[in-house]
Amino acid sequence: MGPDSAPGPAAPWRKVLWERQSFPDNYVDERFLGELRRNDGVRQYRYWAVVKEAGVVGQQLSCVAIFIALWLYMEQGLLSPEALLWTSLTVGLLGYALYAALRPRLGSNGEPRTPLADLQTAAIFLSFTFGFSPVLKTLTESVSTDTVYAMSALMLLAHLVSFPYAHPSPTGSLSLNAALFASVCLASRLPGALHTFAMLSCALLMFALWPCLLQSIRDNAPGPSAWLCAGVCLGGVGGLGSRWPGGAALLALALLSVTLLCPLLLVKLQRHKDNIQGPWDEAEIHEDLCHIPY
Amino acid sequence: MDGERYTDVNGKAIALDQRRHASFCTEFTVSSPKVSIGKVMVYTCSVWLLAYAVFFLTDNTAVLSSAIIITLIGMMLYIHLVKVDHESLLVIGSLGVQLSSSYASGRESTSFIEMSKIKDIVINEAVHMHQIIYYLCILLRDPADPSAVSSVVPLFQSSKPKLNCLVKVYKSCQEIISKC
């Protein structure tokens, strides 16, 4: 019974407590830890699948870069606000058409939104932005430019950190607000009220509407969406490179590490995963307990 | 006086003096050691050195004078309110118990507890600062319910003798109390 008494094993050891066995209390059977399971139900990742998922992170990074590039063009007077507005309108309409074309296949439950309602929302947003753009233009006049830049950088970073990469469609409120705050800050440093308006509508297009379109493309056509992400990445690097080569190099480096190196690390480190399970684990309740038959 | 050496809970020597005035009347006096000159010197010197250092940095003579005043007032308050020279316990059978403590300045505080209020005298244990110590205490009878204890009066609070000393006092007290 005690730890020191000599074992006289006539009967084999059993893993029961109710029987007084002729083994010492600290007896270790060869079946000790026999029910231990390792890495039960661990997902094995494939490299290219992870790269594809990481592409979403890369493209969002590039989106921010494209936005900054556009702002640089505007600020240096290389791009007129009219041109940007017309381009935004065209791209927006094309995107909307694509979104509308993809939507029926989603099998949406409930009342689908009519194009009229979409038009109404867009009109309200645009008119308010247009009406308030002179106010927004002068909003940060009393703040020093350095502060504005620092704030924008911080907010864009917050946007990137809090962006819901797994399901971009309802853009997280924190990430969307951070992005819009940053664009208001940046837009207010542009030369005129129309510039501000053009920049803000472009920001809405890029940070509010683009993730929705991306989500529906990803749901419907996973193959092309990967190429789309790659395209956005290239566009970001190219756009930034034309005004700020150093920034473009940094962006390219970041994109490479996020989309290629990090997945490689994840897949390589999977080998070291050592997850142990056994009878001591808390049981999980799998049933949906709300659906009890009456 | 007997040959046994007594100490308090911190290991400092104390003296227990027992006087039997009569078979029913005994007085115990626990005396702590006197304030040592060396200790006073050390404290005074350290305060003055500190004051001199501050004076050296600030060039303000008020620091020096205030240090002197603080030392003097501190010493006076210490011997008048804190430093207990000896505590005594006078047990008179059938009459009561008188507790008195006299401070180093000569001030004395005395209190008397009638025998009818006393339920018992016991030795108890308590957590005191970061120590667990034995102490002697008087249990006071609850006037409403004679079998209950209403409150506890600890004895020898400042000298805090160790158990062997407490046991000696306890035995004599029990002898007297059990007689009446």
């Binding site: 799998h286 307990l289 | 030795i123 308590a126 957590v127 034995y134 158990l163 035995k171």
Partner: protein, 481 residues
């Protein structure tokens, strides 16, 4: 208090001289340390109390150290002179004290020195004070034993952290006691221990407290009793799924549920939704002495725990003569023989099937009588047996050496990894220096040795009280500051 006194009123050990032959030193001086003790109520608390009483009966000296509970602070005595130190340490969360590794050293050292402790026995891995006591005891060169009462997972962040702390705490502890084989496997893995120093000693129940009384059962119905805290870990959500399903099939089925907790709302919802107010009774929190009165009213005892190291409740249920149905989790399959318990998987369907078959068995009278079940269960787990086996652990530990500081530091570094090992090696050195400082400020020789009044021959025991000796005087302590 009444209940503790009543339980302890058992007869003293028949021969008092066994103490002399029980170990190499004859008699151990044990200090049980845990944050959890009376007036808190639970498995750990009653384990410490019952084990201490049985050890005192066997002639050992036992004191208990815990933290102050509200007004209950200082030194108290329980039955048979069991001395309890309620130390004024700050409680942080869930009755567990805050730990800084050092601040409890002066008081715990005082307890260990004045009581002449040879073995420090800490309980429960949730108790910070227990780990502190192990740490200090090792610094002071005392032998240490630790009892683990609970199971932990390995998956989430908090268990990773607590398991690391447990590794550090147990790496130089002399012996560990677990309450079931599953618990042993769990503890060995969590603390990366050598399984040879881990003993399995189950909990026990007092069979005299849990006797059957079939007359309390109502013949026209079948009653299922559930007694547990109403929390997620006890599977109350499963219970909420079982109740409507079985109540619809069996119109004579009643549920009697004792206990309180955040999941009570689930059961109330179910009761409301299916109009079962007269068939599902929620009794609320139960006093330990009322548990038997509830148990004997039932036919079936149901336990839906999701994790459990030992589960005393099912033994109590079986001891009252009930048919036990339980989930097959943790150490539960080890506790009762197969014919006394129906084990089910932890899901509603399996539990319902298990309960259905037991109900069918009850209707056809296939099960033995409650008295017969009680007679089988009453000898399975007794506190005397637990105390005997624990005593052997103490005997073994008393012969082992406590690692001196240099080897202890090496062991910490080797066993706990370079980072945590170094940090805790540093803490161990600081603790050692703190101990030296305390020994210089308040030397051991200056401290009064506590008067030992425990045990059957002690001053609190039933034997004759001769002349009022001086030592006795120290015993009738009633209240401490």
């Amino acid at each position: 208090m009444d209940q503790l006194r009543k339980r302890a009123a058992r007869k003293p050990a028949p021969e008092a001289d066994t103490a002399a032959s029980s170990g190499p030193n004859g008699r151990h001086s044990i200090c049980m340390v845990s944050d959890f003790f009376y007036p808190n109520m639970g498995g750990v608390e009653s384990h410490i109390y019952q084990l201490s009483q049985c050890l005192i009966e066997k002639g050992h000296k036992v004191v208990i150290a815990t933290h102050a509970y509200g007004e209950r602070k200082g030194v108290r005595y329980l039955t048979n002179g069991l001395k309890v130190y309620y130390l004024p340490l700050q409680v942080m969360y869930n009755q567990s004290t805050a730990t800084t590794c050092f601040h409890s050293l002066p008081l715990l050292r005082c307890v260990f020195v004045r009581e002449g402790i040879t073995v420090v026995h800490a309980h429960s891995s949730f108790s910070a004070m227990a780990h502190d006591a192990l740490f200090h005891a090792k610094t002071m060169g005392l032998n240490t034993v630790f009892t683990d009462h609970s199971l932990f997972g390995f998956a989430d962040m908090s268990s990773v952290l607590t398991n690391k702390l447990l590794t550090v705490s147990l790496c130089d502890t002399n012996h560990i006691v677990c309450v079931s084989y599953t618990s042993k496997e769990n503890t060995v893995l969590r603390a990366t221990l050598n399984p040879e120093i881990v003993s399995v000693i189950p909990n026990a129940v007092d069979p005299t407290d849990f006797t059957p009384d079939p007359s309390q059962r109502q013949g026209d119905r079948i009653t299922i009793v559930v007694i547990s805290r109403l929390v997620y870990r006890k599977g109350i959500d499963l219970l909420g799924g079982i109740i409507p399903e079985l109540c619809l099939k069996h119109p004579d089925l009643h549920f009697l549920i004792g206990g309180e907790g955040p999941k009570r709302i689930v059961l109330e919802e179910v009761r409301e939704k299916y109009q079962l107010h007269d068939r599902v009774r929620l009794l609320g929190a139960l006093e330990h002495r009322d548990v038997r009165g509830v148990l004997v009213q039932g036919h079936i005892f149901l336990n839906t725990s999701l994790t459990e190291a030992f589960c005393m409740a099912i033994v109590e249920g079986a001891s009252c003569g009930l048919q036990v149905v339980s989930t097959r989790v943790g150490g539960i399959p080890e506790v009762l023989p197969e014919d006394l318990i129906s084990l089910c998987e932890p899901n509603v369907r399996s539990l319902c099937a298990g309960l259905e078959s037991v109900i069918a068995g009850l209707r056809s009278g296939a099960y033995p009588s409650p008295t017969a079940i009680h007679a089988r269960v009453r000898h399975l787990y007794t506190w005397r047996n637990v105390a005997e086996r624990t005593e052997k652990v103490y005997d073994r530990v008393a012969g082992e050496e406590v690692l001196p500081l240099d080897r202890r530091l090496l062991r910490l570094r080797e066993h706990c990894g370079p980072v945590a090992g170094s940090i805790f090696a540093f803490l161990a050195v600081v603790n050692f220096l703190f101990l030296l400082l305390l020994q210089w400020l308040f030397p051991d020789q200056v401290m009064d040795m506590a008067v030992d009044a425990s045990g059957p021959r002690g001053l609190w025991g039933p034997p004759k009280r001769d002349t009022m000796s001086a030592e006795e005087a120290a015993a009738p302590a009633t209240k401490a500051e």
